[in-house]
Amino acid sequence: MTRRIMGPFNRVEGDLEVELEIESGQVVSAQVSSSLYRGFEQILQGKEPADALVYTPRICGICSVSQSVAAARALAQLSGVTMPTNGDLAINLILANENVADHLTHFYLFFMPDFARETYRNEPWYELIANRFRAQTGSAAREMLAARAQFMHLMGLMAGKWPHSLAIQPGGVSRSIEMQEKARLQAILFGFRRYLESQLFGDSLENIVSLDSADALQAWSVEQPLDRSDFRAFLEVAGELELDQLGQAEDRFMSYGAYQLSGRNSFAQGLWETELEPLDSKLITEDISHSWMGYQTAPKHPFEGVTLPDAEIEQAYSWCKAPRLDGKVVEVGALARQQVDGHPLIRDLVSQSGGNVRNRVIARLLEIARVTLLMESWVREIQPKQPFCDHAAMPQEAQGAGLVEAARGSLGHWIKIRNGRILNYQIVAPTTWNFSPRDAKGQPGALEVALQGAKLRAGEQEPVSVQHIVRSFDPCMVCTVH
């Protein structure tokens, strides 16, 4: 048995190190470590509740709107403010803008460049993939960045700037949309659809979201020339490299539900193990047995949780905590979200091969199409001249939770206030779920499980299979460690 430390891991957000135990050319055990601590929970203590809207987006520059929405929802629960329909629509659009941009960034900048590595030089698809996706010089990244920047004009219009907007408020948004701006939003989305349909999918968004089974996807793929679209090229690589056999975790999927509108979720909330079950967020706990964290003796629900660093803990190996649902490991993200929501393609893929590198990426791309279509409908529903924000006074003593789906999965903020000030603020981020260290029972986190069994190619120092698995989760370490 040999041990190998991989790090720093790039093309992920934040700091990550993975320690592998390798035997007979395959990974038998993995420890996932976050190597940075910043201490947002401590920073927030004693602050005015509304200041969370300034601080928490700055936990993360890649999903800062998700942090805003979680904070705003927690504050809304504290104050009991309700949101006008326009507020829901505006927040959904701003959040969807970030989530879709994140999925694009992940696919083009973080995930695909690994297939342009030298190790794949002799593969039949190599030249096509390398020209298109090679880091920094591939043709796809420039096109994507230009399209993404245009798409994010929606953010400029509705949220002022990205990242770190203050537009999202407990009762709606600070920026109302006028008729002419609604027209502009429609035009921005049309331009973005044109990019997706010509470059990413090579087909209409409607056709992509109506792919309803593994067979339908296979038939679609066979019909398309290899160089027709980036999705098609990915499916080729995924098939050749059997990415559906790589990186399976425990296949217990959770989603808080996404994109609320008039009290309903556009993507359902729930837990999937063998069937869809309701989600009880009271069963969430965080364990710190293998974290450089102290001052907490047993796993605690976030309302009671403590996040205080202790760099000297013997068996610890990460600044990340270990969240569990009813004591169990769950996986979150686009695949979990679409599995819980019941999209037929994802349900079929998961029933055949479970959660894995290929299916995580397919779910993400499918979601780009689904969410863009939803965005078009939300813009149409905006009622200029109607209110976009409601207001309510903050109580002196209360507690609230804000649950939201970020691109990478379920994000929760739990806040307690006393004497009008923040007494406790705890954050559980999507990557905290997926990249958690072991818990007191020795259960490894989702990625730690997913890495078991990864095979090494001959002579590899930095096993490329490990890189594919890690990046298939699109980790956001800065959120994880706050």
Binding site: M6, G7, P8, F9, N10, R11, E13, G14, D15, S35, Y37, R38, G39, Q42, I43, Q45, K47, E48, A50, V54, Y55, R58, C60, G61, S64, T105, F110, R117, Q136, R142, L145, R148, A149, Q150, H153, M155, G156, L157, A159, G160, K161, P163, S165, L166, A167, Q169, V173, S174, R175, S176, E178, P309, A311, P384, P387, F388, C389, H391, E462, Q467
Partner: protein
């Protein structure tokens, strides 16, 4: 600019959120890659953009320190994390057992220019808020105090101190224009302001080009978020004091904080993270805001403000506390269309 020499750029991240890099990816006209190419900049490594991972990167860093690879531009994003107790253990550079602060310090000493991207790397920023649990500081500042990781006397071979492209996050063009100016050899000490910011954007105020300027003139003030009025009197807006060109150089094609309907929190300034009052409330003494425009005598401001308030047109008074334009500009009675 093909006759330019190639400049090697290394980008590192420490105690930040990655938001400045993500903002930079929003660069347009041209995109980030074209922009670097135009300035003859070769990206040695960037955490989000490069293929090299793990040991490949550590080898690269060693070859820079050994003098085998020239490092022209070192960009740091995120604060320098010094905790706990000055050990730097809160940010160990993954794949090595060493604190990131040590890597940064060694690399800064061999770099042609050192650039702090964002308020965290410049002054400590948001990471240094509260009781600064991570003991974060900037490269050459600890909030308002000179010093930081590299010390106040640090300068590169050309005599430049750390260049502080402050902002939370930075506007993509602040970074790109600074890099292009450095590549052309056109950025000199006099082009940096008193806290090391490029004057190209820091000689402006956020107030310049504010779309709420007419409300400001008449002190027609917003009372709650989503109101259209001036946010200085009640909503904590520091646009009249904040050094940046956000309202004349827009964000994401269309926006700025003020255009988004929320207050400027002066995120380009050292210590912005601890204003000493709730961010979106204006502290007042005897009903008068404490933080008035910096270059205006307080007595004059108060006198002019009360005069302006007395003269506020009905249109501005009503629109200031509404979320849509209630009263459009009217024609004078009898005026021809």
């Amino acid at each position: 600019m093909s006759d330019q020499p190639t400049l090697n750029l290394l980008w590192l991240q420490s105690g930040g959120c990655g938001g400045c890099s993500l903002s930079l990816l929003c660069a347009e006209g041209p995109d980030l890659f074209t922009l670097l190419e135009s300035a003859g900049i070769n990206l040695l490594w960037h955490p989000s953009l490069s293929e090299a991972s793990g040991s490949e990167l550590i080898e690269l860093l060693k070859s820079i320190l050994d003098g085998e690879v020239r490092l022209d531009l070192l960009c740091l994003e995120g604060s320098v994390v010094c905790g706990p107790n000055g050990s730097g253990k809160f940010h160990r550079f993954a794949g090595t057992d060493q604190p990131m602060m040590q890597w940064i310090e060694r690399l800064a000493k061999v770099a042609g220019h050192v650039i702090a991207v964002g308020s965290c790397a410049a002054y400590g920023g948001i990471t240094a808020a509260g009781n600064n649990p991570s003991e974060s500081c900037g490269l050459q500042y600890d909030e308002h105090e000179k010093g930081g990781l590299l010390g106040q006397s640090f300068s590169d071979e050309s005599g430049l101190p750390v260049i502080n492209i402050a902002g939370c996050p930075v506007h993509p063009n602040w970074v790109s224009e600074t890099l292009v100016q450095l590549a052309c050899g056109e950025l000199q000490r006099q082009h940096l302001d008193h806290v090391g910011r490029p004057r190209s954007y820091a000689d402006h105020l956020v107030h310049h080009g504010c779309p709420r300027n007419e409300f400001y003139e008449y002190k027609a003030s917003a009372e709650k978020s989503s109101d259209l009025g001036c946010m200085m009197e009640h909503m904590g807006c520091l646009g009249t004091q904040a050094h940046a060109d956000c309202n004349t150089r827009l964000w994401n094609g269309e926006g700025s904080c003020l255009r988004g309907g929320y207050a400027c929190i002066n995120c380009t300034a050292p210590g912005f993270e601890e204003p000493g009052h709730p961010f979106t409330e204006t502290p007042k003494i005897a009903g008068i805001p404490v933080g008035l425009p910096t270059d205006m005598p307080k007595a004059w401001f108060v006198a002019l403000a009360s005069l302006a308030k007395a003269a506020t047109p009905k249109r501005l008074k009503e629109n200031a506390v509404a979320d849509h334009i209630r009263v459009p500009p009217s024609r004078k009675p009898g005026e021809k269309t």
